[in-house]
């Protein structure tokens, strides 16, 4: 069972990871983008964490939606709307809930990805954050179907996300700023896929006891 507090821990862990990896994410974005992904995500997650304390009722859905709209309002760039829609999409499936089962979490996660796909219109293989998110979604769903415990399930999802992230290296970008590089985008790891891996790993870390 994933409790409201666990969601908060997840978000906080992700914010801490982004802050710690801010320079690394920005460096990845220097190679094939505009050197701001770490700065963007850090600004946004800092704002999100600042909002968490202000939430009165332990409603997972509205908490995730607040996170999403805060990201939309503070990040800008491509990642603002993308991560914003991710959290808002997740939140939409969890309104009024104080806890989530693994299956509910997997469903919410998939809905979040739907938000990313709707606004970003990227396909698998386009070298975007989807490369990390989609394998994680599939791993979560499989784990839920096989009734794996939450902690190990997230561990599986993180491993899948990490593999997807690493697989972005040889890809030629077809969406986002990296696509301007054409063939020259190959050979570099996608910054958004990297932050998305951190997102999943943060849950695995935060929920290792679940």
């Amino acid at each position: 069972m994933i409790a409201y507090e666990d969601i908060l821990t997840w978000i906080r862990t992700f914010a801490e990871t982004v802050a710690a990896e801010r320079t690394y994410l920005t460096e990845l974005d220097s190679a094939i983008g505009d050197a701001d992904h770490g700065i963007n995500m850090d600004r946004g997650m800092h704002a999100v964490v600042g909002k968490l304390d202000g939430i009165a009722t332990p409603d997972i859905g509205s908490c995730l939606k607040t996170a999403g709209s805060t990201l939309v309002s503070t990040v800008g760039g491509a990642s603002g709307p993308l991560y914003g829609m991710f959290f808002m999409g997740m939140g939409g499936t969890a309104v009024g809930k104080e806890t989530l089962t693994l299956q509910e979490f997997a469903t919410a996660f998939a809905a979040g990805i739907g938000g990313v796909e709707r606004i970003g219109k990227a396909q698998p293989g386009d070298k975007t954050m989807l490369e990390a998110l989609l394998p994680a979604r599939d791993a979560l769903q499989a784990a839920a179907e096989q009734a794996v415990a939450v902690g190990p399930a997230l561990q599986l999802a993180a491993t899948a996300a990490e593999a997807g992230m690493l697989e972005t290296v040889p890809l030629v970008a077809r969406k986002g700023r990296a696509s301007y590089l054409g063939e020259r985008s190959a050979g570099h790891q996608d910054p958004g896929a990297t932050s998305s891996f951190y997102l999943v790993r943060s849950a695995a870390t935060a929920w290792s006891g679940l």
């Binding site: 491509a78 603002g80 709307p81 077809r174």
Partner: protein
Amino acid sequence: MKKLINAPEDVVDEALAGMAAAHADLIRVEAPNIVVRRNAPRPGKVGIISGGGSGHEPMHGGFVGMGMLDAACPGAVFTSPVPDQMLAATKAVDGGAGVLHIVKNYTGDIMNFEMAAEMARAEGIDVSAIVIADDVAVKDSLWTAGRRGVGGTVLAEKIVGAAAEAGADLATVTALCQKVQDNVRSMGMALTSCTVPQAGKPTFEIGDDEMEIGVGIHGEPGRTRMKLASADEITDMLATPILDDLPFERGDKVLAFVNGMGGTPLIELYIVYNALKKILDGRGVVIARNLVGDYITSLDMAGFSITLLRLDDEFTRLWDAPVHTPGLRWGV
């Protein structure tokens, strides 16, 4: 990193405060970081807004004023602004005749502007949007994000702004903006990298004898990295792909825009303009109007871009119309 700044995170706010103080007769700066024409909204006038990451000054804030933009939305450095800004700007300039969003073709800009447009429409404001994608350094394709929006944006803002000032309706200015996009092409190059203040170090490494051809205005790598060449050769490397792309043809009248990237002195831009004129003369392309200077920059990057706009009488008339903004001024 050598910059005239205080804290990196305060760069945009302080620069906007400086701009507002220096040009209080033309603009006001409001929360959430939008630059609004002092006398906006004007009843019955179509509002023209644009926006994008900061670091390209004077674009866009420096183009707010009479005959150009009604508002600009500056994001963090090199980062698209957030929808809240475009929504607030749209509301601030809507005089009942609708608002045109001029959007540079970057994924982030597109998505954030689209979200804002939807929100504004939900509040009953008529919003249209045109995407500028004029950078021939990038291969155009249905399957990718397409070309970047660069120097053509400045010309679009001037021409569309003049039409709106003269009372054109939303459908007309929208079509006009698309017509600019259809007739404008650009390409840039860099001698040095820019440095994003919050990143603290150059976006890319480049050798003392190297240059980047086809660079983007955010220091995005370009088409090719090569050994430094002469101004004449470099100008040809940018002008030829531009000319061949539209294509510009013998007898065409053009507006030739030589733009400095922020770290390039004017003396060099005039050398480039001299080289460009020889190339266009050789092709029988007539420079009927020109603009030489820093208008769409990339922080401290040394380099330049060339933009050519094919002129017809309508464009020429609207280009010549009075404009009074911090960054462009004539006729008043």
